[in-house]
């Protein structure tokens, strides 16, 4: 059986880990198989969970979150028959042939929602609320700003981070206040990449009658008519595929971008009225161009810099 290890945010974070959970559930449903999962509580449990699952014969052991790459790198060699999957993390495939690293091109998906934000914006100001000032979140923000600027060179992108303690991911009240602050600075579309804090952003955007953009999972249904779209990160698909492949999982590094449909924008019945045809056309065009390699979206994590936004 496969096993799944969620990052510290916990299974039901309404975004990233929850997507992994949904993928695992989809796997269970489709194949009738079962799986085991654990919500980590502390740093030391990372290695512990990997080892215990590997020892108990679970295969593959799928993990979410960049923080798992380091523990996997130190454990993998001890269990050569077990396959490990690190989603969002990177482990050198040369050194550890039994590890699969799945990375997402969040900057590409963010680019697309950035475009939509800029097009939907009437004020020419769009906002971004991140959970904590860490590279991953900067990657989101950077792609978003590039997309917005691609549509409208004069657009102003306001970027805010919630805090520096773990509470930053679970403080919807602060998310709310940041949203109000950004609205007062003119923002009328706000992209939230901040876990539970983002729920406060979406809520306030709905209350104040502006657009918001969800992240990771499809969050359009939370406030139909207000959530412009969600930047999808198909962790669910990645998890389901890895689990279905079972012990035969192919290892190595896999980057899931627009081309692989690993990231994208969510359009469903909840937001179809908000997304104009013009927007769709532009998004499709940009997507094709990115896939074809004609448009290059700068990846913050490639060189720790962002041309479109300063942190």
């Amino acid at each position: 059986d496969p096993a799944l290890i969620y990052d510290l945010g916990g299974k039901f974070d309404k975004s990233f880990n929850e997507a992994a959970y949904n993928g695992a559930e989809a796997y269970a449903e489709a194949t009738g198989g079962s799986y085991r999962d654990i919500e980590l509580q502390s740093e030391a449990q990372r290695e512990q969970a990997l080892r215990r699952f590997a020892e108990a014969g679970f295969n593959p052991v799928v993990t979410t979150g960049f923080s798992m790459s380091s523990p996997i790198a130190s454990v993998a060699a001890d269990y050569p028959d077990t396959k490990f999957v690190t989603i969002d993390g990177f482990v050198d495939p040369e050194e550890h042939p039994n590890v699969k690293s799945i990375l997402f091109s969040e900057h590409e998906g963010s680019y697309l929602v950035g475009m939509m934000a800029a097009m939907a914006s009437e004020t020419g100001t769009v906002g971004f609320v991140g959970g904590m000032d860490i590279p991953l979140i900067r990657k989101f923000a950077c792609g978003y700003a590039q997309g917005a600027k691609a549509v409208n060179g004069d657009v102003t992108v306001i970027s805010n981070m919630t805090g520096t303690t773990p509470a930053a991911w679970n403080d919807p009240v602060k998310g709310s206040e940041l949203t109000k602050a950004q609205i007062s600075q003119g923002a009328d579309v706000i992209f939230a990449a901040a876990g539970g804090t983002g729920l406060g952003v979406l809520q306030t955007a709905a209350d104040e009658g502006i657009y918001s953009i969800g992240v990771d999972s499809n969050q359009n249904h939370l406030h139909p008519g207000s959530v412009l779209t969600s930047m999808l990160k198909r962790v669910d698909v990645a998890v389901e595929e890895a689990m279905t492949a079972g012990a035969d999982l192919e290892t190595g590094v896999e980057v899931l971008g627009l081309a692989e449909d690993g990231v994208g924008v969510a359009v469903d019945e909840n937001n179809e009225d908000l997304v104009t045809e013009e927007m769709m056309a532009a998004v499709e065009e940009a997507k094709a161009s990115i896939v074809a390699g004609d448009t290059e979206v700068h990846d913050y994590s490639s060189d720790d810099s962002c041309p479109a936004l300063s942190f």
Partner: protein, 361 residues
């Protein structure tokens, strides 16, 4: 009531009460409490690697518990263990990254010094403000926790993070700084003893710290002065014990102990500095110190209990669908019954023993 009853019977019955209520909670969420407790005990105490984890957590809680306990002796409530441990971790990381030593023993020495110094430095400002300006230590240490988190966040994201890494963490420490784990120390080649468990030499450092704090508090002049000052400031002034000096020294020691916790997590376990290295151990330290009645032996036992709960909880999370919050609830109940509701057990016991004595007489 005989002393043994107070020392053994009261906590024992309290823990049983906490366990009983926990069992009810587990039942209420539709799980089997007997299975759950068996799993916890087996996972934490019946396997060597279980012990390896239990003692790893214990080490953390000993340090933070001692941190709170020392401050308590000077009648100061140091809520800042969390922040002091964070900054202590920074000290460890800087020492390990920039002052690598040829052998881990030397590295440990340097890192211990750095951890204690950084932790102490972080405690110094609140201590000094308390002593000189009367700024309430509870507020300032709370504030310094937040400030420490911001400092750590900035340093990890902008300064110590290797280029291109996603993880807001420092680079891995050089090989020579790696501390021997219990496995390295006790397991023969190929044996599974303590396999993979993070407990390491810092556990012994923690035990030494317990002894050291005991000696400090009950055997040295400084300890004598700290306790005197904590009991009565006016008497301390009469005896020529400087309030400023005593406050500052007690807090420096307290902060140093908190900082040393980072040796275990950062140098012993992660072998790099991560953002979330303290994980609230500073706050658990408050409960540990209070339950241990600020005595090193008590702190040790309480830390062991919490280590068991942490590791047992991990086992629960691994093999059942019980949400991890259940462990938080069990911890809460243990703290409540052993630490705050102890008189609920003691009062009837006292009556019982009183009646027994009268019948004998």
């Amino acid at each position: 009531m005989p002393a043994w009853a107070d020392a053994v019977l009261v906590p024992l019955i309290s823990i049983l009460l906490a366990a009983a209520i926990s069992a009810l909670v587990i039942l209420a969420i539709g799980e089997n409490p007997v299975d759950a407790f068996t799993l916890m005990v087996e996972g934490a105490l019946m396997r060597s690697s279980g012990w390896g984890y239990t003692l790893y957590y214990t080490t953390n809680f000993i340090f933070t518990g001692l941190c709170v306990a020392v401050a308590f002796h000077a009648r100061m409530f140091n809520i800042g263990g969390e922040g002091q441990a964070m900054i202590g971790g920074l000290g460890v990381a800087l020492a390990c990254l920039f002052l690598p030593m040829p052998h881990w023993t030397l590295s440990l020495l340097v890192a211990t010094f750095a951890a204690a110094a950084f932790g102490a430095a972080w405690a110094f400002v609140p201590a000094w403000l308390q002593a000189r300006r009367g700024s309430h230590i509870v507020i300032t240490t709370i504030m310094f926790n937040f400030i420490a988190a911001a400092v750590l966040n900035y340093v990890l994201v902008n300064l110590l993070r290797p280029a291109g890494a996603m993880d807001p963490a420092s680079a891995n420490f050089p090989e020579t700084t790696h501390l021997p784990t219990f496995q390295d120390m006790f397991a023969a080649e190929g044996s599974a003893l303590f396999r993979g468990a993070p407990a390491n030499v810092t556990f012994f450092l923690a035990v030494l710290a317990c002894i050291g704090v005991w000696v400090l508090i009950w055997r040295t002049r400084l300890g004598y002065e700290i306790r005197a000052f904590g009991q009565s400031e006016s008497a301390a002034r009469y005896a020529g014990i400087s309030p400023v000096r005593t406050t500052v020294f007690a807090m420096l020691i307290s902060g140093g102990l908190a900082g040393m916790m980072a040796l275990n997590t950062t140098m012993g376990e992660a072998e790099r500095l991560v953002m979330n290295a303290t994980e609230g151990a500073g706050f658990i330290g408050i409960a540990v110190a209070l339950m241990g009645r600020s005595h090193p032996a008590g702190v040790f036992l309480a830390a062991l209990l919490f280590g068991f709960l942490y590791q047992g909880g991990a086992e629960l999370a691994l093999w059942t669908n019980i949400p991890r919050e259940l462990i938080t609830v069990i911890q809460a109940l243990v703290i409540l019954f052993t630490g705050a509701l102890d008189n609920m057990v003691r009062m009837p016991l006292e009556k019982l023993f009183g009646a027994l004595r009268r019948r004998d007489a």
